[in-house]
Amino acid sequence: MYQHNDFDQAFLRNRNAQFRSQVERRLSGSLTEDEFKPLRLMNGVYLQLHAYMLRVAIPYGTLSADQMRVLAEVAERWDRGYGHFTTRQNIQFNWVALTDIPDILDRMAEVGMHAIQSSGNCIRNTTADALAGASADELADPRPYAELIRQWSTDHAEFQFLPRKFKIAVTGSPEDRAAIAAHDVGLQLVEQGGEIGFRVLVGGGLGRTPMLAQELRAFLPSAELLPYLEAILSAYNLIGRRDNKYKARIKITVFEHGIDTFRAAVEEQFAKIRPAYTGEDQALLAEIAAQFALPDLRENLAEFDATTRAVDPLYAAWAARAVTDHKRADHASVTVALKVAGEEPGDASAAQMRALADIAERYGYNELRITHSQNVVLPHVAREDLPTVHAALLRAGLAAANMGRLGDIIACPGMDYCALATARSIPLAQEIAQHFQTLGLEEEIGALNLKISGCINACGHHHLGHIGILGLDRAGAENYQITIGGHEGDKKHPAAIGEKMGPGFAYEAVVPALERLLRTYLDLRNGAEETFLDAVKRLGLAPFRAALYAEVRDAA
């Protein structure tokens, strides 16, 4: 894992001292709220509906057991005993006092954590495949590049006041586990003639005008990453709109000018910028990459995994969903679901964070990851330890193993926390998960991605859900629009934005509508191998639309 060096440590200390004094000046009245707001946003501090919220960066989703313990401590000492992991691999504390935040930041800095680039119109924390550096199908570990991007972009003078926030995601494997098509820039490591480089996508983003990223370059030699990113940002900084907040994202720039014109603008900047890079970045990358080397994986009795599966059905069922193949056959990656039916998706209590830290320390080479589906991964576990890890997760209430199923819902904070919300999303997610668990249909339904956003900003990525739900406020009542057929993109289906089904549903009507929809799928599918998404592709939307609105029509 990347260890902060003296420079990083001094940088964080200075930054925290600066923010402490800014908070003091705000409290004494020498800074107005208008002056203070951009300063607090640069340090991850939002003012929400009921409280301040602190968003802490977990760069490329990687953290150590000690860092996880400090997150637990922050939850306990300064918040209400829990934290919320987000789809951008961050953690949010929803109940912190402004007056405590300087102390929280100092405590986190002791373990190299911070809230920089977690908000504001800057280059946000670069996200990466949660299985990076571990997964068997990976071409190369994307995290050294993500760390290079972090070091280059932090406080980069040219990118402090972009037209709008800017999000980059990078994946190192052919299976996209980082939703790169939904980012301002999506990077995928690819190989050409024995050389490693990037396929570069640009202009993805959801929100009120959902768009999937388009290909800007099919192959960019990896040594040209920073000058090329700089060229993209310069082009955007020059021609991107600043007149209208909603048209300021790069997706609109690309859409309005067209990908070819935008590409020409990027290449023009690139020609100017490229010569300035004379190899220092590559030397730095080599230093960084050395820190992401695989831990010293130990020899072990890997067969114990298979023999336990054969005799313990509970373990076998968990392992079938939670265990992913590792680069080294005698190891595996374990995904831990933070989606217990009836609980808040993505939340972890301080005790759960500590349990995860302990498990990571004892069985996981000290490493943890946060996934973009708001779950946690232990990237390296010896196969012989998997049954023990399962038992430990059971004790911590974390052995749900519903990854990729209906219960693995992504839900934004919605009206329960968020100042921008138009409807609730978390309680709806809880009701849906519980309803289908009670019916016992989750397993039968199989692979399904359900995503909920509490307003048009689409933090829950509902457009990319096989079933997406968008909560709106219609004349003072919550109203939920359902989309189907969305997809993040994988080898089987390209990324797609879901189609709106029709008029929205009242809060109470959503669960019954989903039940009609999913029972229709079960009736119509070609056997259990045909997933919901496959069935939608084969049959089209009509039968599903009819199922959703059957009730309404009967009544009319």
Binding site: A51, E76, D79, R80, G81, Y82, R424
Partner: protein, 105 residues
């Protein structure tokens, strides 16, 4: 529409961040039931200006449309009803809360 509604002044506590309402004695309460309900539009604007002056106590003061009622003013907008009531999340958070050493109400 908003012209015809009574108002209360709301904001967030600058230090703790929680929702607060302006009371008739010029203080701030966490409970909307204790808020001063203002029926006169001009008076509401004056009270708001006054509240904005409390810049080292609260942040983001604004007027909230309410319907006066026997158990206190009820906000018209959905968002404001949630602000007044607090999160609707069911109490599974109690276990987490018990773990926290400080816990504010």
């Amino acid at each position: 529409m908003s012209r015809t509604h009574a108002k209360v002044v709301s904001a967030n506590d600058l230090r703790a961040g929680h929702t607060v309402y302006l009371t008739s004695n010029g203080g701030w309460s966490r409970y909307i039931t204790q808020a001063e309900v203002i029926t006169d539009e001009a008076e509401a604007q004056l009270r708001l200006l006054d509240a904005i002056g409390h810049a080292t106590v609260v942040v983001g003061a604004y007027l909230v449309d309410v319907e006066p009622g026997s158990d206190g003013p009820k906000p018209v907008a959905l968002r404001e009803r949630f602000r007044a009531q607090g999160p609707s999340i069911h109490p599974s958070k109690q276990t987490a809360r018990a773990e926290a050493r400080h816990v504010s109400a």
